[in-house]
Amino acid sequence: MANPLPNEQEICERIKKENLTIHPLIWQLIEHHINNDLYMINLIIGSTVLDSEPLSEENAKKIINHSQAIKDFLDKLWRLTKPG
């Protein structure tokens, strides 16, 4: 888990106070892309742990691909929504 930003609490309070929201269409994209990739990563790692098996090279590559897909999606979202 990433360490919280030093001012994360402050940011969260400001989001709440100023009622800063994300457009539902953007949420739709985030949930679809990120959740499906996270779901796959969870399934791969979870089943590896459950079976007490080492992670196969094939599944490790899948995890890398799904992680990369999350990054690609976030980059795309950034390009589409960057201020200015």
């Binding site: 949930e31 499906n36 796959m40 399934l43 979870g46």
Partner: protein, 130 residues
Amino acid sequence: MSQAKIKLLIVDDEKDICNFVKLLFRKKKLSVYSALSGNQAVRLAKKIKPDIALLDIHLKKGMNGIEVLQKLKELMPACRCVIVTWDEAQEKIKQARALGAAGYLTKPLTANQLLKVVSRIAKNIGQGGK
């Protein structure tokens, strides 16, 4: 799990997810089938008559998961349908419950969560429960 004859239908438009979930449950000796769309799910269900269906609610083409649920419950009321969703939109969950869904799960799920839920339902079927 020892439900060799339990038939599980996975409905998700993500091929990777279908394949992986299939593999996960095959290891548990279930007969597992998958469909990448609602229409395909209904066609397959008519043929195999699944005991349990895991339905992704957000299918991109054709019928959505709720429509598939409705159709499956019409065709085979005994099939236990579990809705898989990435949001917790209460309206959809209520709708799914009203249509006879056995439960709902929110993505991203862990393999353990999936196994527990399906195992519990399969055990219930094995004991003749509804």
